[in-house]
Amino acid sequence: MAYRLENLRILIVDDNSHIRQLLRTILNAVGIRNIDISDDGVAGFEAFCRLEYDIVFTDYQMEPISGIDLTDLIRTSKKSPNPYVPVIMISAYSDETRVQEARDHGVTEFLAKPFTVERLMERLEKVIEEPRPFVRTETYFGPDRRRKQDPNYTGPERRQSELESVDLTMRELSEQQRAALRASRETFEKIAGD
């Protein structure tokens, strides 16, 4: 049975007008009509708090806050109306460190640019058909980062090492990236604290 995608409401957050237009065109073509668009993460989070969205698409690199910060707000802010919403991050920065960073901040799916219609549809089907359980720890709230669950696994708990990898990721950032991150964090904390 074909999905009734017209029932979905989608939020696209991207600072690139061409990517916004491209996403809207593709999603319209598969029958999704309720699409709202924001060109930065702050406006995106405000829009997210106003309506009930089924899926959020976000860019990685944006100002004043990044797609990672937006995902943090969606997952952990007290203002967030739906911390469980699937977040699909679209970015040309698709090296392992960035993908890991996205996962560690609660991104549901990562779609590398340049993407094709087929890859985009795969991600859409994945969030519909294979939703992952959510995990809450002292330092993380988001989809389970372990894709495959092995009920017969008897080895040591790996969650601690996953948390340690977050610190490792931060250490790998350049000074310039850390400065950008700090500036972004200040904006993030202001929004989260309002």
Binding site: A2, Y3, H18, A29, D54, Y84, P131
Partner: protein
């Protein structure tokens, strides 16, 4: 909302109900996005390809201008690098979406050059021009996909140039 019972103080597993599946056609069993709809989406993207090619032509002109700026005033390298990287990011991040896979690879080669350039080396206008020329050839000849053998040779020569110059 189901709590799986994996709550031992260290972490808690929560399984939200699959509202998304219920919304788009909730029953169990085979389902998915209509293939005709996917085909329509592909056609819709194709209809944007002309506009993309026009944008790439503007990006190429920008890249050529940047390379000349660099030749004339080498101390603008920081600014030029930032703008050249943006060109590579735009072209690289969208080319394959419109069927120009080789164009994407060349855009990404340009961003690699800017990202990996040794801080003690001077940015080269020649490298920027070589990337602009390759992009222009692809658009002019409407080379889709990876460009076959000629495409791989072109890309390899650019990558070797980048390796030498970074």
């Amino acid at each position: 909302m189901a709590d799986d019972g994996h709550s031992n103080g260290a972490y808690q597993m929560i399984t939200p109900p699959n509202l998304l599946k219920a919304k788009v056609g909730g029953s169990d069993g085979p389902s998915g996005i209509d293939l005709d709809a996917i085909q329509q989406a592909a056609s819709a993207v194709e209809s944007l390809a002309d506009e993309f090619e026009e944008r790439v032509s503007l990006e190429i002109a920008m890249l050529m201008k940047l390379s000349h700026d660099l030749d004339e005033t080498p101390d603008t390298a920081g600014k030029v690098g930032k703008r050249a990287r943006r060109v590579g990011h735009e072209v690289g991040g969208q080319g394959a979406t419109y069927g120009f896979d080789l164009l994407s690879d060349i855009g990404l080669s340009l961003t690699r050059y800017v990202d990996e350039l040794d801080g003690r080396k001077r940015m080269s206008g020649e490298v920027l021009r070589a990337h602009a020329d390759a992009m222009r050839a692809i658009i002019k000849n409407d080379i889709r996909g990876d460009g076959g053998v000629v495409g791989s040779e072109l890309l390899e020569s650019l990558e070797q140039m980048v390796d030498r110059m970074i």
